[in-house]
Symmetry: C2
Subunit: 256 residues, 2 copies
């Protein structure tokens, strides 16, 4: 174990709980650069000895920094300053026709040089729920649910809905939709997407999202709801995504 980088504690004011004050001090060190990306934070034992506190209190202090996204626990090893190497998800470029029109996977644009995988695919046809039916203006839908992992870590779950009338019998209803993915297949069917609307929210995860994405406590999800429109404003896909917020930066470019 490396030496604790925390200097001997000066007297602290008693207007906030001790775990908060310890977290404040560690945060200052991270934000000032005294503790750098990938550095190990003092462990529970070190904090207990240094501040004369109980293990639960030490754990609370570290949890504050984990919840703020400034640190990550590694199982059986300790808590580290987060080496934030996010996926840069470029809202418009990734969905350009040049991308899927040439048979490229959209994810190649998000994760150049990194290993990504679709490690869960679930397909079904079902009657559309009220919100889905309202978005897609149809009664029955094909549903594609996937989970994506990057560098072996799950980062996103996504559920896409397609009007069954349009996609029935196409490769969109198969686990592998083929080169260029579902947008290239919509193009084959005469419904190439020409416009996208993305709605972005953030919130704490629901239990099934925590489980699917293996999220540490206190990590929010970014929720994106996208509708793809073909010519004439015909909606051809609704995609509901939940992203591990610690893994993503979304980038949007536009002109004044």
């Amino acid at each position: 174990m490396t030496e604790s980088p925390v200097p001997p504690p000066p007297p602290m004011h008693h207007d906030s709980p001790i775990y908060r004050r310890i977290a404040d001090r560690l945060r200052d060190q991270i934000l000032s650069g005294a503790l750098d990306d990938g550095d190990r934070l003092p462990g529970e034992n070190a904090l207990m000895a240094e501040y004369g506190i109980a293990r639960a209190t030490a754990r609370q202090a570290l949890a504050v920094l984990i919840n703020e996204g400034l640190a990550v626990p590694r199982r059986g090893s300790g808590v580290y300053v987060r080496l934030f190497r996010p996926i840069r998800r470029h809202g418009s470029r990734r969905l350009s026709r040049e991308q899927w029109g040439r048979g490229r996977a959209i994810w190649d644009s998000d994760t150049p040089g990194r290993a990504y995988a679709v490690d869960e695919v679930d397909l079904r046809r079902e009657p559309a729920s009220t919100p889905v039916s309202r978005a897609l203006r149809c009664d029955d839908v094909w549903v594609r649910h996937r989970r994506y992992s990057v560098d072996g870590r799950p980062v996103q779950v996504a559920t896409s809905y397609f009007p069954a009338d349009i996609v029935e019998g196409s490769a969109i209803t198969l686990p592998d939709p083929g080169p260029g993915g579902v947008y290239a297949r919509l193009d084959d069917l005469g419904y190439p997407p020409v416009h996208f609307t993305e709605e972005v929210r953030a919130r704490m995860p629901q239990p099934r999202e925590t489980a699917s994405l293996d999220l540490p406590a206190g990590t929010p999800v970014i929720v994106i709801s996208r509708i793809a429109f073909a010519a004439g404003g015909v909606p051809v896909e609704l995609n509901e995504m939940a992203l591990d917020s610690a893994s993503y930066v979304l980038q949007y470019d536009f002109d004044a």
Copy 2:
């Protein structure tokens, strides 16, 4: 007090803590529509009586739903299903030249018909920090820090940085920058913004964000970092925003 809408508890499995299972049941009722927007959830006393649990456990169950953004506490009154009436922030339309070029405030586009206020403004000139200097390619900056409230509730804090060489002596350095705001003034100075890049992240708030935005526990913030570019790719503003995630939907539109 209204009658509790929770039916008598059927036997529950013991694979998760009781507060989780109570939260699961309440969530099901919210997501199924049995409990509607604005309905009051059963209070701590009702949950204690119904499930034979301690107050802390009842509180934990309600906290789960609050953290997921499905419910909100109202001081001294109880916990209510969230009436989600978010601010729809339209990424590109709000920043179009038509907006600020006609002397309109950008916020008029975000909050039609709602009362919004800039209730804190702080101005200073200072040497640029390393990341700010890198983004704006200059040594000294004017800093505009503001807090925005909608319907009396703080929803966003924003800190904008401008190259001091460009904006010195202009109304951008005054509390009220005048009609059309800072972009109209940059236009007056010969640097109208023509392009914007927004980076969007989500994370748990830092303590000063929790304080400024009066965030309930477990509410993440959406963090947006935007650079405005004038012709020739000259960066003229860096704006770092933190948004109450419960108050916002960000919308982005783009073509394939």
